[in-house]
């Protein structure tokens, strides 16, 4: 298997993960970072092969998917690493407010159980900087959402590049 052909996806996926971690950049164009990375990976692939023939649907989807998966992998790793170093994250910051609301609204036993799980995660993060459950939760969410957005970016890249490379008569 020629892994070099997936190099553009790996590079752009890693770049997207880095960008989506930086707050200032993330605020700029939040949900467009991953599709833009997938688009760029297709563009780089086309440039590296020097092939002007139309991109096929399966290629666009696979490049988008790989970009999304790589971005999800690194994004999760960065999140875990930052949480490990700082012993804090959005979940830790938001839990106090959530608990206050919970006490005011007085929900049943099921909600208490759910909150107990969250409290355990927060305790683990504050104590050691790592929670296995939190890691699984963010990894699954990232992999699912980034791969969908990556494939959409791949499709958009295919639309643009195929129109750009269309033979002119």
């Amino acid at each position: 298997m020629d892994y070099n052909k997936y190099l553009p996806s790996i590079i752009t996926g890693f770049g997207a993960a880095v960008l989506s971690t930086i707050p200032g950049i993330k605020n700029l164009n939040c949900c467009l970072i991953i599709p833009a990375a997938a688009f760029l990976s297709l563009y780089l692939y086309n440039k590296s092969t020097g092939n002007d023939s139309p991109i096929k649907l399966n290629k666009a989807l696979s490049y988008g998917l790989i970009t999304g998966l790589i971005a999800a992998l690194f994004s999760s790793l960065f999140d875990i690493l930052i949480t490990f170093i700082t012993h804090s994250n959005d979940l830790v910051v938001g839990l106090e407010q959530t608990e206050e609301m919970m006490h005011e609204l007085n929900f049943g036993a099921l909600m208490d159980a759910s909150m107990e799980i969250m409290r355990t995660m927060v305790k683990e993060i504050e104590a050691t900087g790592f929670s296995a459950l939190y890691t699984v939760m963010i990894t699954i969410s990232n992999f699912f959402i980034f791969s969908v957005f990556g494939m959409l970016g791949g499709l958009l890249g295919m639309a643009v590049l195929n129109k750009k490379n269309r033979p002119k008569f």
Binding site: M101, M137, I145
Partner: protein, 171 residues
Amino acid sequence: MIYNRIEDRLHTDNKKFKAIKYLFFFLLLFWSAGFLFPVLSPSFTGKPFVNQLLNYNYSIVCHQSESSQINFGNAYLLVCARCAGIYLGALFIIIIMLFNFLKLKLSLMPLLIFSAPLVIDAFAVRFNIYAYSKTIAFITGLLCGAIVLIYILETIENSFNLLYKRKYGLQ
């Protein structure tokens, strides 16, 4: 007879494309319902666990700054105005395309024209040229979301047609 076979096949390919359109429609509908949840179902808004789960889900794709989220009274959408515009623009277009009201063969120019306002607005706000406006962000997002989905669906349709033509030696 060959003509009939081609006609049957075309009918099947149209069905496939229609299925793809429905898939996009339901995915967008669920996605949009998710971030509209606090507005659509105010009784759930205060429930921390549901709110926290949905909030976390959308935080992956949106910065969710409260100053940029559209609100209806106390209920805030779970994504910023720009993202809400993008998703609702895409949802609006897929509804129109489901009923075949829109059939376009576009060049690249409309994509640039409709996407440029979003990019210009994002950079203008970032570099403090003017203050963030939810209305502008929502409208520019709406335009971008709509045009992007048109291109994506057109690409899928073209791919189906190309596959069909190759299979039956029409090209």
